[in-house]
């Protein structure tokens, strides 16, 4: 074991067992998978994306590019999980990725030998020809060879959740700056959310060995977290990554159960948070940069601060002999820490000629060999697995060798500025710390600590406290700056350095996407020099780690090549999400049938009892047809239903239509302005069919509107346009004509509405209305609308309307009575063989009658196109009147509404077929319109259609070609009146 005998924030009293690539190991509670693997001296954990090079653990945090594993098994398998953030649990099962047959002996590591051919842009250059090989040969081969983990084979058995949170101050990151910011704002009484992606709050306070006041930094962190937890106005959310800023709202993912083998019963695996915060303080810290040199990707080469973190937080020695390679002071502190903790730190290699005397003295006192003005030029490793065994170094002009099983490197630190870019802010290069710091920040967001390049511990605590105080003060809280404890600050000197020139072997810049310094040279030579081009050409920074450890090195090397400064070279910016977010958590509960809410009609249960087949129409489920035993296809059923209505009587739930109550002195005048026809003259007790236009002159919707009282109308809209029409009417009343006395109320949900149609409809109606209600032709004439009672005192609105062309009524009752009404009608109609029918039969009958519906109200048709030209009043203005008079909409050659029947009556018409003059070529130049609706007419015994034909009404009797290349149909149809039955309307007036 390379677990240190003591120390760390792991709980040595709670050992855990886990498996990696089938082998069982032990770790402790508080470990990550990475720390536990290192404690078990497992150094090789994966194979690289493109070259299948052996890779180990580079970091101790979310920046990890190499140690990606498949976590869990079966349908819970999660590929590309970073071992450095995967919290260890008992029974954890992980496997390495992208290797075959095994991790140590990988067949495709031969890719490394052909690496010269796989450089930047090789996809574009190599797989150009022949084109058809791409799908059949190249892509499958590449997908097999290059890739990450495998997705789970089946449906994810877990569920995911979404939630909203609100606060005054959101603090992102619970390191020294974040803890102080939260403390300052929390003590002032502001509602604070403190979010950290780690499972242990404290950030670097758990990884460093510093003293704050009279206690170690980790104890200070624990004490501060305890105080925050005791404040009722502060909510601490660990395991929660804030991944994006969306105009004042913050997106975050809480990993509720990822640290468990399976979520507890009814617990989600993850929860998506949408956090509305008045202020936010970004305290996300900084990420250490690797140095680019030959062989820098070997297992055993890692980041210096991460090596320190393994020692101090996890009590793990990352190696038996550890050398450091750096350009800055922080690595020296890391080396000293580790040495004190009991790790065998042998050598400190620094590219600088001189370092602070205090550092040199401390190194000497600890017995660490110091090599200044020295660079690592190469690495050697074990024959299998490649783990580090030694280093080639160059001091001045002299080459030498050193033995080491671990190299801890540091090229300096990059502030985690990601979220500051989410509103278009561009990071700014700060020369003295050799790092990009935040530029313009999103509104309401400030930055504290290492995330803005403030590295000293004392400065970080102070800056966090100040930002927290300011944020609370901005919001009106009386905030006082907390007392700041004394700290011993460590030196932070740095000399910018990126790339060891002339080193041996591939020098990796982006280890996750296998991009080397040489690839950047190719991009430079081939002209892809601008950072955005370089990124896309080489794929640098485009892996799942979004280039956390590679972006700055990559553009610094490009700057060296072009001779420009880093600021001139610029940086790519970071877009949301900051960290990979699973699609499952974005969906939450809304999956499968719960993707969106389902609306149920008042008679749903009754229809289900009757054997209805349901169909989705928008959010509604409606009865499509009611098959009976022995009916083997839908057409048989629909034919029976339509015939039964025309022969006797049927019923259908039409509650889904939009229903709007209009009340007030000016309703009639208002309706005159929104419909093309006139409603102010409508008599009380009567209904009228109306058509409304959009302001551009195109038909918006149609329906019947009835006048129940002098100042009370009720409008119906189509099912699909109910919300749109309501919104339009509110616009007219609130914005265009606020002087009108009209109030609207949606009554779509209040009233269940059932249509009964057929020659026996009146007989059925007469049996459900209460005694004394006259439904005779005189008492309730065609287009009558009256309020009466049915079924023994139930309020009802009775309308004599017909969509089917038969004698028809619509009966509206309060929604709770809808089902009872359906049952009462069934009983009342039993002797006439009353037939429930669905929207298919309704569609058949409206096509037979030549009524327009959604297919014709397509958003492209004018009132004139649909045959409503004569309905339009010329005595008033209405919405759309002026624009409907445009020459283009008045053009007599516009396709207009007519009926069609096949010349060969055996032919089945298809909606979507285009009309051509017989003999004309089948091209767009000769297109004369198209078929909008078709049905098999049981009444006529053949298929019929409705459609829009150029100059249609003048061509009745003519034959045209119905051309449907999509389904391979091409035959002649005869143009006819759209009213296939009862053109004079005798049935519905009877």
């Amino acid at each position: 074991m390379s677990r240190l005998p003591s120390g760390g924030r792991v709980d040595r009293a709670r050992p855990l067992s886990f498996r990696f690539d089938g082998k069982t190991y032990r770790g402790f509670a508080g470990d990550t998978l990475a720390s536990a693997l290192l404690a078990n001296q497992v150094r090789l954990v994966g194979r690289s994306f493109k070259y299948h090079r052996p890779r180990g653990i580079l970091s101790a945090g979310p920046e990890e590019p190499n140690a990606l594993v498949e976590l869990r098994s079966g349908d819970r398998r999660e590929p590309n999980t970073r071992a450095t953030v995967a919290e260890l649990y008992d029974g954890l099962d992980a496997a390495s990725q992208n290797r075959w047959p095994s991790l140590a002996l990988d067949a495709l590591s031969l890719n490394g030998l052909v690496a010269p051919f796989l450089g930047a842009g090789f996809y574009y250059k190599t797989f150009m020809w022949p084109a058809k090989f791409w799908e059949s040969v190249y892509e499958p081969a590449i997908r097999r060879a290059a890739g990450l983990g495998r997705a789970a084979p089946g449906k994810d058995p877990d569920h995911y959740d979404k939630a909203h949170a609100f606060c005054d101050v959101l603090v992102i990151g619970a390191g020294p700056a974040g803890l102080m910011a939260a403390l300052a704002a929390g003590r002032a009484g502001a509602r604070v959310i403190l979010a950290d992606e780690d499972f242990l709050a404290g950030g670097r306070l758990n990884s460093d060995v510093a003293r704050i006041g009279d206690e170690p930094s980790h104890a200070f962190a624990a004490r501060t977290v305890a105080e925050l937890a005791s404040l009722p106005n502060v909510r601490i959310m660990t395991r929660t990554s804030v991944f994006g800023i969306y105009d004042g709202e913050y997106g975050a993912v809480e990993r509720v159960s990822d640290h468990l083998a399976t979520p507890a019963p009814f617990q989600p695996r993850q929860r998506l948070w949408k956090i509305a915060a008045k202020r936010a303080i970004l305290c996300a810290g900084a990420t250490e940069r690797p140095i680019v040199f030959g062989g820098n990707d070997r297992p055993g080469v890692m980041l210096a601060g991460s090596a320190r973190s393994y020692a101090n937080r996890y009590g793990v020695a990352v190696g038996k002999s550890v050398a450091f390679f750096a350009n800055n002071d922080s690595a020296w502190t890391s080396a000293f820490d580790m040495k004190v903790a009991g790790v065998n730190v042998t050598t400190l290699i620094d590219i600088r000629r001189e370092v602070a005397p205090a550092l040199a003295a401390r190194a000497k006192a600890l017995g660490i060999d110091v090599r200044t003005d020295t660079q690592v030029t190469g690495t050697t490793g074990q024959p299998f697995g490649g783990a580090l065994t030694g280093l080639s170094i160059r001091t001045g002009g002299r080459n030498g060798r050193l033995a080491a099983d671990t190299l801890a490197m540091s090229g300096g630190w990059s502030p985690s500025v990601h979220l500051t870019c989410h509103h278009g802010g561009k990071p700014v290069w700060q020369e003295d710390i050799a790092a990009f710091v935040p530029g313009r920040t999103p509104p309401g967001l400030s930055v504290a600590g290492a995330a803005r390049g403030t590295y000293g511990l004392g400065d970080t605590l102070a800056e966090g406290a100040r930002r927290g105080t300011e944020a609370a003060g901005d919001l009106g809280f009386a905030a006082a700056l907390p007392d700041l404890p004394a700290t011993e600050d460590t030196p932070a000197g740095i000399t910018a350095f990126w790339h060891v020139q002339g080193s041996k072997g591939p020098a990796f810049v982006d280890q996750q996407n296998d991009v080397t310094a040489k690839d950047l040279g190719i991009a430079y030579k081939e002209g892809f020099r601008a950072v955005e081009l370089m990124k896309r050409y080489t794929t640098l920074g485009m892996a799942t780690d979004q280039g956390r450890t590679s972006n700055v090195n990559g553009l610094a090397i490009m700057a060296e090549l072009t001779g420009a400064s880093i600021m001139e070279t610029g940086t790519t910016i970071f877009r949301p999400p900051y960290t990979p977010v699973s699609l499952g958590v974005l969906g939450g509960h809304h999956r499968g049938k719960d993707f969106r809410p389902t609306r149920l009609t008042p008679t749903h249960a009754w229809a289900a009892e009757q054997g209805a087949v349901f169909i989705e129409t928008g959010p509604w489920l409606r009865a499509q047809y009611f098959p009976k035993a022995g009916e083997t296809d839908w057409l048989t059923t629909v034919n029976r239903e339509a015939k039964a209505v025309r022969a006797s009587v049927g019923l259908i739930d039409v509650s889904t239509f939009g229903k709007i109550d209009l009340q007030g002195r000016d309703v009639g005048a208002f309706l005159d302005r929104v419909y093309i026809n006139t409603f102010s003259t409508l008599a009380v007790g009567k209904a009228r069919y109306g058509v409304m236009l959009r302001e551009d002159g195109i038909v918006m919707d149609d329906g019947t509107t009835a006048r129940l009282a002098p100042e009370h109308y009720v409008m119906t809209t189509t099912t699909a346009n109910a919300a749109k029409v309501f919104q339009h009417l509110e616009f007219c009343l609130q914005v265009l004509w606020p002087e009108l006395d009209v109030t609207l109320a949606s009554v779509s949900e209040q009233w269940a509405q059932i249509a009964i149609a057929g020659p026996r409809a009146r007989d059925v109606l007469a049996r459900v209305v209460d005694t004394g209600v006259d439904v005779s032709n005189e008492g309730l004439p065609f287009m009558g609308a009256i309020e009466r009672t049915v079924m023994g005192g139930v309020k009802a609105r009775l309308f004599r309307l017909s969509f089917s062309g038969e004698l028809g009524y619509e009966i509206a009752v309060p929604a709770r009575y809808g089902e009872a009404l359906a049952r009462a009608l069934m009983t009342a109609g039993e002797e006439f063989g009353i037939t429930p029918y669905g929207i298919e039969a309704l569609g058949v009958m409206r096509i037979e009658k030549g009524h327009v519906s959604g297919n014709e109200l397509s958003g492209q048709t004018s009132a004139g196109d649909l045959g409503f030209g004569k309905m339009a009043s010329t005595k008033k203005d209405y919405i759309g009147r002026v624009m409907a008079a445009r020459p283009g909409l008045k053009d007599p050659d516009r396709p207009a509404f007519v009926g069609f029947k096949p010349v060969d009556k055996g032919q089945r018409l298809r909606a979507g077929a285009h009309f051509l003059t017989i003999g004309a070529p089948a091209d767009m130049a000769h297109d004369e319109g198209y078929m909008t609706s078709v049905a098999h007419s049981p009444h006529l015994g053949h298929w019929i259609g409705l459609g829009l034909l150029k100059n249609g009404p003048a061509r009745i009797g003519e034959r045209v070609r119905a051309y449907d290349p999509v389904r391979g149909n091409d035959f002649e149809v005869e143009v006819c009146s759209p009213a296939f039955i009862d053109p004079n309307g005798e049935r519905l007036r009877g």
Partner: protein, 87 residues
């Protein structure tokens, strides 16, 4: 984005339906140049980078049309008022 509805308070933008430019006035349909004026009213829009006065319908809330002053480059909302005044 959250929109400060004068009646309901700050609400998520998903509760609102967007219409656009709130500075337009429906032209006089009886005017001699009504065709031209309606063409402009229906189709012609400025596309300012910066301050914009626009209609949002609070369909998920109070069902009021709200005139919102929004900066199109930053989404910063300077204010919001109900259409039609008090009713």
């Amino acid at each position: 984005m959250r929109i400060p509805c004068p009646y309901c308070g700050a609400r998520d933008a998903s509760e609102f339906a967007y219409l656009g430019d709130a500075t337009l006035t429906r032209p006089d349909p009886a005017a001699p140049d009504a065709d031209e004026a309606f063409h402009a009213y229906v189709y012609l829009r400025d596309n300012p980078a910066g301050a914009h006065s626009e209609w949002w319908y609070h369909s998920g809330g109070c069902r009021r049309w709200v005139k919102v002053a929004r900066d199109t480059t930053s989404h910063a909302i300077a204010g919001a008022e109900l259409a039609g005044g008090a009713r």
